[in-house]
């Protein structure tokens, strides 16, 4: 079976890709996708550690990931709603143009 470290590497790279996307892209929607990638990388860690861990029969990792997925769904819904609402006002989703607090 694949050793744990491979999963951790995959998770690390995925996190980095997501992070790079978040800090380099202008489009707010894509930034949100990047955040989802980072969350997924964390989820992968949870699952991998649960699978290779010593927590006995308790499905602790699974529980954590389940709640994480639920939060991610809520976050995506609210985040995208916010982006759409902002777009209605400013007609843009370019993040660097959204730098004033005045609507």
């Amino acid at each position: 079976m694949t050793p744990l470290s491979q999963y951790l590497f995959l998770s690390t790279l995925l996190f980095a890709i997501g992070f790079a996307g978040v800090v380099t892209r202008r489009n707010a929607v894509i930034v949100l996708v990047g955040i989802e990638f980072m969350l997924n990388a964390a989820n992968l860690n949870f699952i991998a550690f649960w699978r290779y861990g010593v927590s006995g029969a308790a499905p602790t990792g699974i529980m954590a990931v389940m709640f994480s997925i639920a939060i991610a769904a809520a976050e995506a819904a609210v985040g995208l709603a916010l982006i759409i609402a902002v777009y209605r006002h400013r007609k843009t989703t370019q993040l660097e143009k959204l730098d004033t607090l005045k609507g």
């Binding site: 690390t12 380099t24 290779y52 709640f67 997925i69 809520a74 759409i84």
Partner: protein, 192 residues
């Protein structure tokens, strides 16, 4: 080692599609690539014997979040990109450097530690029944909180995204067009 080979195939796939999702010009392509990456991760979860999570990942990330993202892209006219518009933010080089640094920082301890090789996977799986029981006993409070959170998020998202009646809407000529002329307006009596 078929398991190992398939892991590498899917790992490379996930990384490739994730990179594509962060790099492609057209946001719709990005969203589709992200959906592919999420699906690949679901397969990796499945290999890790977390089948419930794997299906949940498919259902929520591929079936719901990707669609949401696509809708958001279309509603914000993200798909009609003008040529020549810079995609990356002005400080993209700094950002990339930080990302690489982060990856490096995390990768170093992973490499230096030895638990990766030492710990053998235990042969327990989590049957759905067990997950259900845990949810209903030990994780009852988080579950209820999560339900509340999701409800709040649902209502909040709907409220935020609702179109506010704008000023232009009030004098929207469309309503004038739709107005049926009344009999008095329409039939004018003209005495010869």
């Amino acid at each position: 080692m078929p398991n190992n080979i398939s892991f590498y195939i899917f790992a490379v796939g996930v990384l490739a599609t994730a990179t594509a999702a962060m790099r492609l010009r057209n946001p719709v392509h990005c969203a589709l690539a992200a959906a592919a990456a999420f699906a690949g991760l679901a397969v990796i979860y499945f290999q890790l014997d977390a089948e419930f999570i794997s299906f949940a990942q498919l259902l929520i990330y591929v079936g719901a979040i990707s669609i949401l993202v696509i809708f958001a892209v279309l509603l914000t006219r993200g798909s009609d990109i003008q040529p020549g518009v810079e995609l990356a933010s002005p400080h993209w080089l700094t950002g990339l450097a930080i990302a690489v640094l982060v990856a490096f920082v995390i990768a170093v301890p992973v490499c230096s530690s030895s638990f990766g090789e030492k710990i053998a996977p235990k042969m327990t799986v989590a049957p759905v029944k067990l997950i259900g029981e845990e949810l209903m006993t030990r994780y009852l409070f988080p579950l209820e909180t999560m339900g509340l959170l999701l409800t709040v998020a649902l209502i909040g998202a709907a409220v935020i995204a609702l179109r506010e009646p704008e000023e232009s809407e009030i004098r929207n000529p469309k309503s004038e067009i739709r107005k049926q002329p009344t009999t008095e307006e329409l039939v004018a009596e003209v005495q010869p």
